[in-house]
């Protein structure tokens, strides 16, 4: 780290790339690195909420932003989204409330790489050409045949091969190790409203820095570039479909830029004051994350119901004793005893339900692994 320049120089460097004064900050807990406006105050890590973001003297890779998908979800939308998300949960933790989630909401842009390269080589594929055939349906009724022609679409597969020397542009490649998890949590973007990057579009959002450098992202990028080439070659061959595409090419003049995708994170605390992160897609409003039930609340309600059952049993016992001198009291004792049984059984429900519900929430967590830049 000895060659890392002083912070003032870093700000200057990022300002040159991003067109605004951003400082690199890191989370000491999850090791993630972000860029945030220099004027922003102290904030907790939006992705783990267990550490405070601290300025870090790290050299940012010179990969300038090229495109950005702006936020479309407003604060009012978020309130409704949180409300709808929370409402199905019975016995929710004390902290799991829409207003609190809203207060803790943090907008973030997370990155994808956009790769441009010149592909030169040769390729082969099975090209599929659409064509139509005429089929027939014959119907017989009342001694007469009626013939009806039907048109069916089919695909004819033919071999094609050739040479390619073409520029492949804007291939989206994961820039985060946890890309798949992030994609699953955000539920995908439409990308139609993507815009050319402008610092004005950043607003108050924090920028998550790529943790997959181009060298590490290349094995993932290559098949995506090949897919793009397959589509280009199919188009060149005039084919509507392609399969078994193979290409042997060199990929020169690579240019890696960033594509920023919007999301919100927020959190709530469970019974043990552990934070649980919720992720909202900044474009579609799709929300994901664990919505846990409170075992503590369940236990409390269960105990209250159990105490009620015990009271009923006690009354039944008194009725039983009274029945020795006043026989009709025996009937009342039996009814009370039966009610006590039912109420006692019902006490089990709030005790068991939170654990059952919470089991279904597994796998909805944001990955909180190791992150280094």
């Amino acid at each position: 780290m000895s060659d890392i320049p002083p912070q003032a120089a870093i700000i200057k460097e990022t300002e040159k790339l991003w067109g605004t004064d951003l400082i690199p900050v890191g989370c000491p807990h999850c090791q993630r690195v972000f860029l945030m406006p220099a004027w922003a105050g102290e904030t907790s890590c939006p992705l783990c909420r267990q550490g405070k973001l601290q300025p870090q003297d790290v050299r940012m890779r010179p990969a300038e932003p090229e495109k950005l998908l702006p936020f479309r979800i407003t604060k009012a939308d978020l309130e409704n989204i949180y409300d709808a998300f929370i409402s199905p949960v019975w016995l929710k933790p004390e902290d799991f409330k829409p207003d609190r989630l809203l207060r803790r909401t943090q907008p973030i842009f997370w990155p994808l790489w956009l790769v441009d390269t010149l592909a030169t080589g040769h390729w082969q594929m099975e090209a599929g050409f659409d064509y139509q055939v005429q089929s027939t349906k014959e119907t017989y009724a009342n001694g007469q045949w009626i013939s009806r022609k039907q048109i069916e679409g089919r695909v004819r597969w033919e071999p094609r091969l050739g040479k390619v020397n073409t520029q492949v542009e804007n291939v989206s490649v994961p820039a985060l190790e946890e890309h798949e998890n992030r994609k699953a949590l955000t539920g995908g973007y439409h990308h139609k409203s993507a815009q050319v990057f402008s610092p004005k579009l950043l607003g108050e959002a924090i920028l998550e820095a790529p943790d997959l450098p181009p060298e590490d992202a290349w094995p993932t990028a290559l098949p995506l570039i090949k897919n793009r080439l397959a589509a280009v070659c199919a188009r060149a061959a005039g084919a509507g479909h392609q399969r078994n595409f193979a290409v042997k090419a060199s990929y020169q003049d690579q240019h890696w830029t960033q594509y920023l995708l919007p999301m919100f994170t927020t959190y709530y605390l469970d019974d043990d004051a552990q934070p649980h992160i919720l992720v909202v897609n900044g474009e579609t409003g799709s929300i994901q994350g664990p919505r846990l039930a409170s075992r503590k609340k369940g236990n409390q309600i269960g105990l209250i119901i159990a105490a009620s059952a015990a009271g009923l049993f006690l009354l039944a016992l008194i009725g039983l004793i009274l029945s020795m001198v006043f026989p009709p009291a025996g009937l009342i004792a039996a009814v009370l005893g039966f009610l006590g049984l039912i109420v006692g059984g019902a006490a089990l429900i709030p005790l068991i339900w939170p654990a059952q519900w919470n089991r279904k929430q597994r796998g909805l967590h944001l990955v909180t692994g190791r992150h280094t830049q």
Partner: protein, 436 residues
Amino acid sequence: MAQHITPLSTWKLPEGFQRVDSQVPGVEVFAPVVETAMEDQPTSFTCPHCGANVAYDVSAGGIACEYCGYIAPVRAEQVGRSADEFEFTLETLSHAAHGWGTERQMLSCESCGARISIPAGVLSSSCPFCASNQVNLTAGMDENLRPRFLIPFKITRERTRGLTENWLGKGWFHPNQLAASTVTKKLTGVYLPYWTFDTRVHAQWRAQVGYEHTERHYNAREKRWETRTKIVWRWESGRVELGIDDFLVSGSMGTPINQSILSKIRPFDFSDLVAYEPDYLVGWQAQAYETPLTDAWEICKKAVREQAKEACYQDIPTHHVRNFSMSADFEEETWRYILLPIYLAAYKYENDIFQMMINGQTGAVAGHKPVAWCKVWLAIAGMLSPGLLLGMIGLPLMLLDGAGIVPIMIGIFLFILGVVLSVIVYNKARQSEGKS
């Protein structure tokens, strides 16, 4: 930024590929070479040794020169039943290749209107359908689809003589002077056009099916118990699948070729199918189709849907059926245009024209023969006379003493038998002449 360069192996254009138009700059596209066999320029078939005209020789299985003995085998792939089949694409007709691929001429018969293709250099020929020599050259029919496959002739011209003699020798009511040689001389080997169709039919039927139900009831008038059969009707439905393989439809409907004779010399063995090569047609006649693909397919469909209907009826467990309806979905419909070998002869006898055909692959013979009507009338007279004679004997006997009833009864029986036999013989004679 690091450059990721994958070492390239040297690229060579594979054999059988050619450059085609690319829709994207910077991308070159190569596609398999389109088979040019179907786009051959007209070629002349002459002997490379002596320059004489050559012809396809059945026994040699290749092109042979009858002057110097030169033989060149035909390089055609035997494809059999696996010969390519073509779908009913909307572009089929417009994309199909045209013409015959070799230099042939179309002859149009002024007498019967038949159009036949003959080898180059033959300016006139006897029409195989009407034996007329009045033929004129017309322009070639380049709008025809090309034949893709054919079954080569297996029966030699020499063998047709024996087959013809044998066939002519059958039957007693033909003229004695009908010599085999006359007909054999008229025999012409012709490749006739055929369409073959394959399809799968998924049929669904629905009908009221009647089940016979026997019940006992009390007949108050007769004062006894009786049994009676009642039909109980139920709505039922079912599914039937039908596979049609190589359904043959003649491509020469509407021509003077007698289709009923043609159907009698079937079947052909499709395992002998070979890819079309003009060599097979050298020195032989070949007819282009007159029945277009769509018309032939309609003929096939009508026959197949009746087969499907029959199969549906067979699926019904009883013979009591009413309100029958069905649908037949045709799937995987394919077609082939093929040429089949037939020897044709049209010969004149007492101003009448008769056709005779020999299956050029199997040797099956069928046709029409002239009838010596004097023989037929004599035979009919012979068959009717016993009955009439006995009647003539019996009638006076019966008038005299009543004993003639027996010969009259026998005479009536023999006369009726004679009439029946006479009608059969007469019809056979008419059929033999092709006039039934």
